[in-house]
Assembly symmetry: C2
Homo-oligomer: 157 residues x 2
DNA sequence: AATCTGCTGGTCAATCTGTACAGCGGATCG
DNA sequence: CGATCCGCTGTACAGATTGACCAGCAGATT
């Protein structure tokens, strides 16, 4: 669970250059190949590394518009709303939260006009009382993990 | 840019089982290995697939609390605020948006108490006028891309 | 009809993977 | 203090995969 500096360096290295294999990683880190293999196995069974899936860019797929929608849900309808939203491909992510809204979801669309269609589909469901949408203009910090990994590696060192 | 069914199947296959190589993928898809290689190359230079970095779980790293903060920014301070937030490891993602707030960021923390520290650090900056935070309780739909890829593959087929 | 493009099925050498082993140093424990 | 455990090193091996080619072929384009 707690990662040490070597784990941190390994993760950062893999994040920066995913194509290098275990052997090359061991060379870069200055440790034996078996060590890297053991660390990787451990990190994966720990769940620290969930996998190495391809990072797909929705924009390149033809969905350049991103938005966040805050949804207010009718009491007791949570499960139904979740199931409904899970069925919409443009819903990339859904959270239930504290605070003003009850749920927060990330949407993508083919254009601003298309976003209207997506929102209609998202909110056109009985359990949803109200929705407010914020369209993303810029993304100054894309989803990242390296700084956190470095932080965690130093804390647990 | 537009992906066809084979691209879609390839991406989905890789997303589901990242460890399989080009050879195994070609077997599963029933095409020649060279074809898979060519498709992969194309998808990567298109930017559809940005890479194969490790998917790190912040919770397993010791950061089980996630929150979204909506920030209101003083006019003209955007760039400074961005730089400030980019320097906070617990800020995993930052967007500028339309709507009530001006920015939306995703935070993680070691605990609810620790979240206070993170928020203080985030909002303790001159350009930030107001912040409202929503703590994530559940994550019914974790960040996903497969349904969108399938959608895109069928549209452009 | 000539061209292009993308896919096929095959080859090659080079590399990497998974697995195993013995040795070694540091830390833990009775 | 000595025994033991654990993680890392360095090495070995067979088997699989990779990247790079190639000629042939079918469908679409010009």
């Amino acid at each position: 669970m707690a990662i040490d500096r070597l784990d941190g360096r390994l993760i950062v290295l893999l994040a920066r250059e995913p194509r290098i294999g275990v052997l090359e990683a061991s060379r870069r880190l200055g440790v034996a190949r078996g060590t890297v293999q053991a660390r990787l196995d451990r990190l994966q069974s720990n769940g620290v590394i969930r996998g190495f899936g391809p990072a797909v860019d929705p924009a390149a797929l033809g969905y350049p518009v991103t938005a966040f929608a805050t949804l207010e849900i009718k009491q007791g309808q949570g499960a139904d709303v979740r199931a409904h939203l899970a069925g919409v491909p443009e819903v990339l992510e859904l959270h239930t939260t504290t605070g003003h809204g009850d749920m927060l979801c990330r949407l993508v669309a083919r254009s601003n006009a298309d976003l209207q269609r997506v929102i209609d589909r998202v909110v056109g469901f009985d359990g949803i009382v109200r929705a407010s949408t914020a369209i993303v203009m810029e993304n100054p910090v894309p989803l990242r993990i390296i700084p956190l990994v470095e932080q965690a590696a130093e804390d647990n060192d």
